[in-house]
Symmetry: C5
Subunit: 361 residues, 5 copies
């Protein structure tokens, strides 16, 4: 049987700063990663799209209030100073920076005076490793700029990058808010992949349940139920975030983009509904498993009882005439042995009729 693969969702989420430390203190979380942090800048508008690696963060300063759109993508959050520097350039609140650095920050949106801060959770499935991978993605959306922070270096936004290079594409024509939508939409798309994987597992488990239920299956159903709970808890706040972005009066989101965000929310609701249904199906499967065990135990007990109830009296009868008393007159009757056999057969027959009437077999 295929083993349930566990999404590495940590149960409890440590804060990056220590108890009582001043809020806004920036601390790197976990060990240093192998790859260094890469910062890529896209400076684009309807006509052009320039991509370049940023070496000195101070180069970014000009893009804060430029008339073209800019997308700064930071791959890796281990370099605290770098994040602090970017925060300083774009005038980001220290608490926001702290949240960006915390890989266990839950999904949320906060609206500041001149930017919106969004934390997202990307969950990707890799066919090769047959396992899920999770990372936090933080977005800072300003009027003409978007900054995205990936927890781990990687090319998860590749599809969008390519789109951005294509002249006349919608992502080039619309503003940074549309670009942000595309990143969110990409993340929701990946949730669909997760949902599909879970769906396959449920179908697999239902098949096994109808064949031979054993204790491994029980473990797998419970593991799946647990996974679904953790996945649901992790992504649930996205609904609120998307509702927040599509509210009227959100200055940084244009009406054009709002239509798309509503669509993304609709997709997310579908993910949520499906996962919720999966949870209920898994719970039903567990009930089914237990019912089946109960039913089979009952069956086993009936077989045992039928055997015991038929043969125990017979064995007793045989035992009686195996006694060695000197004076047991029956022992000497010629047809007594035959009579005893008839008695035993009669007893067994009566038992069988009794159990038949009770519908035990």
């Amino acid at each position: 049987m295929r083993k349930i693969k566990s999404i590495p969702l940590k149960l409890y989420q440590k804060q990056s700063r220590k108890v009582g430390q001043s809020p806004g203190t920036l601390t790197a979380f976990g060990e240093k990663p192998e790859k260094p942090t890469v910062v890529t800048l896209f400076d684009y508008d309807h006509n052009k799209c320039e991509e370049k690696q940023v070496e000195m963060m101070s180069e970014l300063r000009q893009f804060k209030d430029s008339t073209t759109n800019s997308w700064t993508n930071v791959e890796g959050i281990s370099d605290t100073d770098l994040v602090a520097e970017i925060g300083d350039i774009f005038g980001i609140h220290p608490l926001v920076l702290e949240d960006i650095l915390n890989p266990r920050q839950r999904i949320k949106m906060e609206v500041y005076d001149d930017y919106i801060f969004i934390v997202l959770k990307m969950i990707t499935y890799s066919d090769e490793k047959d396992s899920f991978d999770k990372e936090n993605v933080s977005l800072i959306l300003g009027k003409q700029f978007l900054i995205s922070f990936q927890e781990k270096p990687g090319d998860i936004f590749d599809a969008v990058r390519k789109r951005l290079q294509t002249e006349g594409s919608r992502v080039r024509t619309f503003g940074c808010d549309y670009l942000a939508y595309r990143l969110i939409d990409l993340i929701v798309d990946h949730y669909y992949v997760v949902v599909e994987k879970y769906g396959e597992q449920i179908e697999q488990l239902e098949l096994e349940l109808s064949e031979k239920p054993d204790s491994d299956l029980l473990n797998n159903i419970q593991m799946l139920k647990r996974e679904l709970l953790l996945f649901l808890r992790a992504v649930l706040p996205l609904g609120e975030v998307l509702t927040g972005t599509t509210k009227e009066g959100q200055m940084l989101i244009t009406d054009d983009t709002r239509v798309f965000l509503i669509d993304a929310k609709d997709h997310f609701m579908q993910v949520k509904d499906t996962i919720t249904s999966f949870r209920e199906l898994a719970a039903d499967m567990l009930d089914g498993y237990l019912s089946m065990i109960s039913y089979r135990m009952n069956e086993v007990m009936q077989v045992l009882t039928i055997f015991a109830a038929i043969f125990i009296p017979l064995t007793f009868i045989a035992g009686v005439y195996g006694m060695n008393f000197e004076f047991m007159p029956e022992l000497h009757f010629k047809y007594m042995y035959l009579v005893v056999w008839l008695l035993m057969i009669g007893t067994a027959g009566a038992m069988l009729v009794y159990f038949k009437r009770k519908k035990w077999f």
Copy 2:
């Protein structure tokens, strides 16, 4: 026993477009169907009703802003280009077209500037096949036009077509919004048929439960519970949609039609309430089944215990006097055999009295 027929409701709903693909990309879903797409146009007002097959989509252009009402019914959504062309003629948002092409799109309503987009799920029961069939129906309601997309070719709207041919009928007199209501109402009517079928299954299962509960029955109850869950999840958003259409200030819905939509919503609530009750009844049946199994197991165990407790000591006594020791004085006492019989009968009697007192039989 009649087998529970499963409604083919897919658990998880894949998106038609791939991960990271640009939103609004139109992709046909699944394999090509056998029948070609048929587009029928009804151009009607109080006085006339012309029905014709549309060959060239460009013929439709004149109906976008005509003063008569028009209903364009598209049977089949496999021809992506055709849908794109219609969308282009009526000025439909690309995201809407994408949703129309996705047969797993959930029920929803979206209000655009000059049209309302509604996705519905038609669930029909066919007596011949004794099974349910499901398809998505998308409606685009403009001021003077209604476009409906059926997932599969078929005559599910026949009743309304006939009505439309009847002069003086309400559907001819009122606008396109009333026509849309009639289609929605037709769909809700079909839900009643589904509800009735489920009701029959529940009555059937309750009957079987009171007769001989076996493990097939258990499977059937669980299957039914699962079906009800999936059906409920699938149709649930219709409540929101109907609330949305009946809200004051919905420009494209007249007051006359609103009264009818409120009625449709009331019918839908009835469907929802009944299905919810069915779920609870199915859950109660499962509990009942398990209780019965527990009760019977207890009974079985009591029978076993009574037999075992009575005969095991007797067999022991018989075993004792079956031993072959040279020096067993009792073996030579004349009335010892009788005494042993009396002892055994006494022991059995004492046991019976004990179990009687414990109310085990």
Copy 3:
């Protein structure tokens, strides 16, 4: 044991009209009843109260806009034409008439321009038959008129009729809205009777549970739980209806009557709360039943195990010395028989001590 009497609440509610039929089509539901439809008119104000049987419906026309109050009570809804005629005289919407004719319509209220339409469910208990009876009652409350439709002929409104004949009574002095309240209040009063009957059943079942729980009792508790669910589901919308009637700005309800309707709502809430508690008590009883079964099964198993564990080794020992080997030296030892007895008693004693320590008895 007294058998649980089932309230005839149909599980699923068919619509009177067929799938796809035009809304507002009036169809009689079920078979023709024995008694003909009776229409009674009360024309009353502070000073007078005239009661008469209405033969020609056209007589009613004068009462639509008369200055006196009028109450038209229609007993039986099988005569579709008659209902249609009354609807026509008072200007009632076709959908309302359709709902009146549907005996499975759920409780609801709809506010139209010049009348309020309310559907209620009367549930009466008859001592003779020891069973419940259910019928729909529809009210149409206009400015100076009230029309009530009873599903079945009968004298359920007798108490109010008598009150109406009494000069100076509140029902004579106040308007038609107060009369409508009195009918609603009468229906809620009957719910109290149902609640009391259920309460008696619960007490009865609790008594039986504490005496000898058997599988009939299990069935009865489950039946009761089911009944309570169906009753609750059926009457639940009345809360909304009463909230609706007591909202400020309801033109047809005077302030004087509103106070009374608030009181009726309070009574209904009490009914609802009590039934909800009953459901929980019934669920607790089921749990209690199952716990008791589990406990007793454990007890049975312990008895069995004690017997088996004590006597099976003894029987084995006896069996050993019942073997017929030629060379079994022990058989010839003089005190061996005694030793074996001591051995057997010792074994049994050790077992008893072991089980005593385990607190099995």
Copy 4:
């Protein structure tokens, strides 16, 4: 074991008036009590406080619009005429009087033009009888008067009376609304006593559960769960009532008193939370009980199975060589007896190893 004492909370609540009787009809409920109704009047303001027994109700008329505060306390509600007379003097709505006379009226608040009507439930614990007692208390709070109706004669308000006699006390200085608060607060204080008693029972039951769980304990936990449900249902509406009294714009409640009422509400929420937690703890205890039973049954079964599986084969072997066939060559082998013993010991040993591996002991 201490027996769970049951709070006498009637499950279903009969109305005092009969089905169909005119609302506002005043009927005494239940039998006549032994003690006569006692009416006490406190006429007080900052300077004085006069207490007297009221013989003629007409004496009360002057206090309706007097400038001093007055508190009329009516002990016992069996004298319908007396209540009606007081109602008449203070201009109370007939429905209010009906509710006062109904000892099963649920907790509620109704705001009338010039008074507020509040129904409360006093639940007291008596140490002597070790049982709870319940009675309804109705308050009518006017501008300068407070009327309280106790269901049963008694001195439950003694603490407040004494306070009222104390010059300079807050209850003397503030108005009637503060006095009403003090009565409500007294009732909530008594709920704390109930909560504490339940807490003691839960601790007691948890102790017993960890010692020897038996079927009495099961009954007691279920009884407690039931009690908690009924208690919670009975007092729950007090939350709404207190919210209602502390709403801004409540003319008869001064700002000073509002602060105190908010405090009372906070206390009530604490009672509610604790009782809700108790319910969950009781449910957890039941689960724990059942789990323990399951665990022990499993243990019992293992013991049985080990014994049976070891000795049944041995007994069979012994049985074989107890057969009396003429030609059984083994019987005559010299060391066969020894071999059989070794065989039996080997079989038993193999069994033990097998069960050891299965971790059955």
Copy 5:
């Protein structure tokens, strides 16, 4: 196995004052503590920060309306007079003082005209004792002053004190509302520690569950579930409190601090979500435990039944030929012994095939 350490959260919360006592009566709760009450004053603004022990409470009077910020920290609430004196100086409502003195007061916030009163619950984990400790912390936040009351003497606010001594720190620059936030944030930080400890216990229990589930494990899971319930109930109202403090129009909270409080609320939500997930995981573990027990019992029963069903018939056959009848012709047939052996082996084989087919092993 590590024993679950219980957080000392008292189930029910006694009030400090007695039933019927006047509200605002100040009573010390519990026994006198060993250490005397210590009052520390921090008088600080942007430029300076003076810390001193307060001996005479009257010294505090000047700080009520001073232009610098002051923080009065009271360690220990056993000295009723001292609390009353402070209350008097700062003009605190008697009910507030009563709540401060009650160590079982639940978390809440109350807004008064010129100060906000907040009750919090600090839960700390001590590594040495490996146990949790709980105490109430009450805050009174005025325009230029903050008073905090710790239930027990101790240095829980040390981290903040140090920060306050640091020139240029945010806590020095911002007002008292920021200081209050820092204290709240410290408390939430400590909740994270509790959450982490619970997370470790869950992982530990899951490990044990997958190894050898026994009845101790059952107790531990249930104990944990109970702990989580009590912890959740205790801290839950903090969400409301934090929502309350961040509402617009809260005069005493500046916009700068509001951003921080929103962050604290977000942290608290994370704590709440995680604990809720833990509850569900614990419930799932219990289900898993019971399922495993059921599964194993079934297995045990099958083993028993297989043994019994195979050997009981064989023993019977052996018993038959152990009978001592004179006329048993088979006994004298030469190959009868062999035939019986074959018969027995055949019976056993048939049984094995039967059970194999039933998939019992």
